[in-house]
Symmetry: D5
Subunit: 87 residues, 10 copies
């Protein structure tokens, strides 16, 4: 299980539509509006690495209203790995 | 349920000890080593707001080897709220 | 009582109109033009967390002339909590 | 009435002591722990400009555990000026 | 006497016209082209605080070719206050 | 007449002593405590370029409590050049 | 053998097309999508310095969808220089 | 094959010793001194994800003279994947 | 002899045309494409200060394809001043 | 001829000693104190690439009082290449 975290900035007024759209994507387990410089924090799970490519470039970056993303790959889970409960 | 995300920088070579220490804290549901500028991404759950204060100031910021934190409060969950499964 | 502080940049020449517009919003207790990199500092009060979502995404980010916001959630008040005297 | 807002970073683990100490200062009406890059947001009121100098340099910057401050002077209040209710 | 300093970036090729235009404003005592990241450094004097609002929002930010400003309020003069000799 | 502007950060609690010390320097016409990221804004006048070297490196950077400086050289004065009235 | 590394940001949704286009360039030995602030990390080899100019300005910066690049020239290889195996 | 790229800053004068030390690590295929803000660019290969944790935290961050690292995980190779030829 | 150094960013694909255009300017002694965040490093010589104004505002900032500049004035030459050999 | 430009920050009060020391190095053709964020701009010439390594790591970064450097490699000279007149 690979986990990618994405911090996303949206065009002003588009955070909700972007957040909802991303939350529907099968790889996505959690999407939050967060305080601070970024609008959204997104948690994504993959079974293998190449999936990340499709997700980021074909799906995530195709969402209208998205402005900028910073991706962070998790390479270690501390404590018990509770896994992801993708709805 | 309040969710706080914390991006943390650690003194060089201390990320593992800091990560493990934080993962043991009851409020903490997930701790990851992540690529990028920060060493750790931490997900914390609270039942009420004042708990955040104790967590950040008394517990998190007391962990030896921690250098800097940026906190982000979640104020909206998109899609189904899967809750947190605190070990 | 949840308090959110917002630092806002406006399109050049729009700070006044943006400031006035935001000051009329019921959740908003105080709006200031401030020196420095940002044009406005806004103080907002909520009775529960989900209200923040509507405020930030539906109301604040819909104000014409607003360019960029950084939100900060207060999680502790020091000294006596004087509350907010929303006009 | 002059209002100064101060964003403050504290040495790790000192935010609470710094916040409490500042909240006791007569010029200070409100002090918050806030999410984000800074630890504290402080609201200060003055009756005349030179008071700011004493406050920032003699009092604020003398508090042990304070690391860095960014000050913002308010030069306009939008909507009704609710004043400051200094405890 | 309130003094406000403004660092200003201009659209490429507009610094001269912006500088000249600002120098004609009655509140403005000095305008310089400066080396570095910013194009202009502007020194402005006010007899009372609300004037700043009009100057920054109604006059300064209305100048065509101006791109971005950072304002700094002076709250202490060191040595003899030589005042401002507004032409 | 060459004019150099210096934005200076001081060690916490040292801005006053640094400001006073600098204000006594013959080349210095004005020194202000300012809001924002920097503590002081300094205006210096020189009759020829090499003087700047001595001032910055031998005098300014020798002042105890000074932490960091950004220098900006003025290469154009807009409007009437009111000169500098060095006390 | 001169090696240049390029960190590249692409217009949202264009990283794949930009990456593929650049990977076809003869000077290019490796192109990766990477996590973090940048979309692509590119490794380029040259037999002499002036080739860099043509590559960066005529070829790389002509690729549609490319937004911003930061170039880093390697001036030392540690350990065994495995050379570049340009397909 | 997982590839991690690391941009590293070293304590002044330590880049060579750090570079040599890292080049000896079995996971490391290439280490370069590069121009720009960072001292070293490091290319590391792993057969599985958890290895990254050990490498970054136990080996890389234990090298004396290393000051700061930014890690970037590759999740796509463009063009032919030439693999890594670890000496 | 006044020397001004300019770091310049260009619109993507325009560095060559901008570089060539600037190199023809009489005040300019050297123009380089450089690695890093900026596209060009320009060295300019003036016999008196006001010339800088014309050069920066009338000539440099009028070059099509130029996006952003940071200017640095030299105020001391170390070692022998080799002067500038303007072609 | 390879040309490397170095922007250098020095410990406060050490710019002169650092500048003088560097100006004596045979590879160095020009060293300037410059306005702005950096203290020194250094121009260095090499006949081949590996020399850069020795210069940066063994000589430049060994100078006491130097704090931080950003290196930029020139890969194109516009207009006539006037060469370097190393004293």
């Amino acid at each position: 299980m690979y986990r990618l975290f994405v911090l996303a900035k949206c065009d002003l007024g588009h955070a909700a539509s972007v957040g909802n759209r991303i939350a529907e994507m099968e790889e996505v387990s959690e999407v939050y509006s967060v305080t601070g410089e970024y609008d959204l924090l997104i948690k994504v799970g993959f079974s293998d690495l190449p999936e990340i490519e499709d997700f980021v470039q074909e799906k995530l970056h195709a969402v209208p209203g998205l402005k900028e993303t910073v991706t962070m790959m998790s390479y270690r889970v501390y404590g018990e790995d509770i896994g992801d409960f993708v709805s």
